[in-house]
Amino acid sequence: MITVTIDGKKPPLTYPKLKTVLQLLHNLNLRVNDALIIRDGELLTPDRHLWPGDEITVRRVVSRG
C-alpha cells in the first residue's frame, strides 16, 4: 500500500497499486510540473518507481493569491 498526502490534507489517500510517480500524477489528474512529489525528503521525477510502504507527499505549486 502506498500512502499519499496532498497539501497536508488528512486523511491521506492510499493506493494498492502504483508503479511510478507518473501513474500517481495521472491518478491525481496533475501535470508533470503541477506539483512537487516528495518521498523521504527527496524530490522525485515522474519516471521514479514507487514501492509498497512508500509515504508520498504531493505539494501543488500553483499560488492561489
Partner: protein, 306 residues
C-alpha cells in the same frame, strides 16, 4: 532520469528545457536564470541596495535568497494586511525566516494607516484582490522611495507574467501591453520595479524552496477565491503540457516583437497625465490617488473624519 549537467540521479524534470537536474545542478540552473534576467534587463546597478517585496510565499522568499546568494544587497518589506487568522502567522513566519537568514525586514501594517483589508473589503464595491493589490503596490513603492531604495524587486515568476500578458491581450489593453515587462524604469516618485524571477516557473521556484529548505507560507489568502489569473494559469498549464516551452516562447516573443508595437500607447484622451495626490503626494491620475480614496471610504464607513 539523469541530471543533464553531471549525470547523477535527477530530482527535478523540466520538460520546457528538455532537461532534468540533480539538486546541486538545479540550483546552478536556477541562479543562472535569475542572473540572465538581471543582466538582460538591466535590473540592478552595481552596489545598489534592493528592496524586496516579501509576502512570505515561495516566490518572495526564494527571491530574497537567490538575490543574496548572487551577491546583491537586499532588504525586505512585508505588508501586514490585517486579515484575521492569516496576516499574523504569515508575518511571524516571514520575520522568522529573515531573522534566521540574516535579512533585514521592514513590516508595514495597513491597519496603522487606516487600511486594514477586512475593513477595506466592507467599504468598496470592487473585487478585493484588485484593491488590495493597489494598496500593496502603493506602499511598496512609497516605502522604497521614502527610504532611499531605487529598485523594488517583486517575486513575479514566468507563470504570473504570462497570465498577466494573456489578460492584457484578451482586452487588447494597449497601455498595459506597452509597459509590461521585467523592468519598469523609475520616474519621479516611482522607483524602478524589477522582476528577477520572470524566467523561472512556479514549479521551479517551489522546487528551489524545497531544495534550499525555505519554509515559506503555503496557505492561500482567505479572500483570494476566484481570482481570474488562476484560471489563465490553468489554460497556459494545459498548453505548456502539450507543447513544453510555450510559456517562455510567448513571453519572450512579446518582449522582443510585441511590446515595441505598443510603446507609448495612450490610456485615452486626458488620462495619461499624472498629478501629485493632494493627500499623500504620490503620483495619481486624479486629484486624490486611488489608495487615499479607499482610505476615505473606510473612514467614512467607520464614521471617522480624516
Amino acid at each position: 532520469m539523469k541530471c543533464k549537467r553531471c549525470g547523477e540521479l535527477a530530482a527535478v524534470k523540466l520538460p520546457s528545457h528538455h532537461a532534468g537536474f540533480c539538486p546541486t545542478c538545479f540550483e546552478v540552473f536556477f541562479k543562472r536564470q535569475v542572473e540572465t534576467a538581471i543582466r538582460r534587463h538591466a535590473m540592478i546597478k552595481p552596489g545598489e541596495k534592493v528592496l524586496v517585496a516579501v509576502s512570505g510565499g515561495k516566490d518572495s522568499l526564494a527571491l530574497m535568497r537567490v538575490l543574496s546568494d548572487l551577491g546583491h544587497d537586499v532588504d525586505g518589506l512585508h505588508v501586514h494586511l490585517g486579515i484575521p487568522d492569516s496576516s499574523d502567522p504569515v508575518c511571524e513566519r516571514t520575520e522568522s525566516y529573515c531573522r534566521e537568514n540574516g535579512f533585514r525586514l521592514h513590516v508595514l501594517r495597513t491597519a496603522e494607516v487606516g487600511l486594514a483589508i477586512p475593513e477595506v473589503k466592507d467599504s468598496v464595491h470592487r473585487p478585493i484582490c484588485a484593491v488590495c493589490g493597489k494598496i500593496k503596490r502603493h506602499y511598496f513603492n512609497r516605502f522604497a522611495y521614502e527610504n532611499g531604495y531605487t529598485a523594488l524587486a517583486t517575486g513575479h515568476n514566468l507563470d504570473d507574467e504570462v497570465a498577466r500578458l494573456f489578460a492584457n491581450t484578451l482586452r487588447w489593453d494597449a497601455k498595459y501591453l506597452g509597459t509590461q515587462g521585467p523592468t519598469l524604469p523609475g520616474e519621479g516618485r516611482f522607483v524602478r520595479k524589477i522582476k528577477p524571477l520572470y524566467r523561472v516557473t512556479e514549479f521551479e521556484t517551489a522546487a528551489y524552496c524545497f531544495l534550499k529548505a525555505i519554509n515559506h507560507w503555503k496557505a492561500a489568502c482567505p479572500y483570494s477565491g476566484g481570482a481570474s489569473f488562476t484560471g489563465h494559469k490553468k489554460l497556459f498549464a494545459d498548453l505548456e503540457d502539450r507543447s513544453p516551452g510555450q510559456k517562455t516562447a510567448f513571453y519572450e516573443a512579446f518582449l522582443a516583437q510585441g511590446r515595441p508595437q505598443f510603446a507609448g500607447a495612450s490610456r485615452g484622451e486626458g488620462q495619461d497625465t499624472l498629478y501629485a495626490c493632494t493627500q499623500c503626494g504620490f503620483p495619481s491620475s486624479g486629484e486624490v490617488c486611488g489608495v487615499c480614496r479607499v482610505r476615505e471610504l473606510v473612514a467614512k464607513r467607520k464614521g471617522e473624519v480624516l
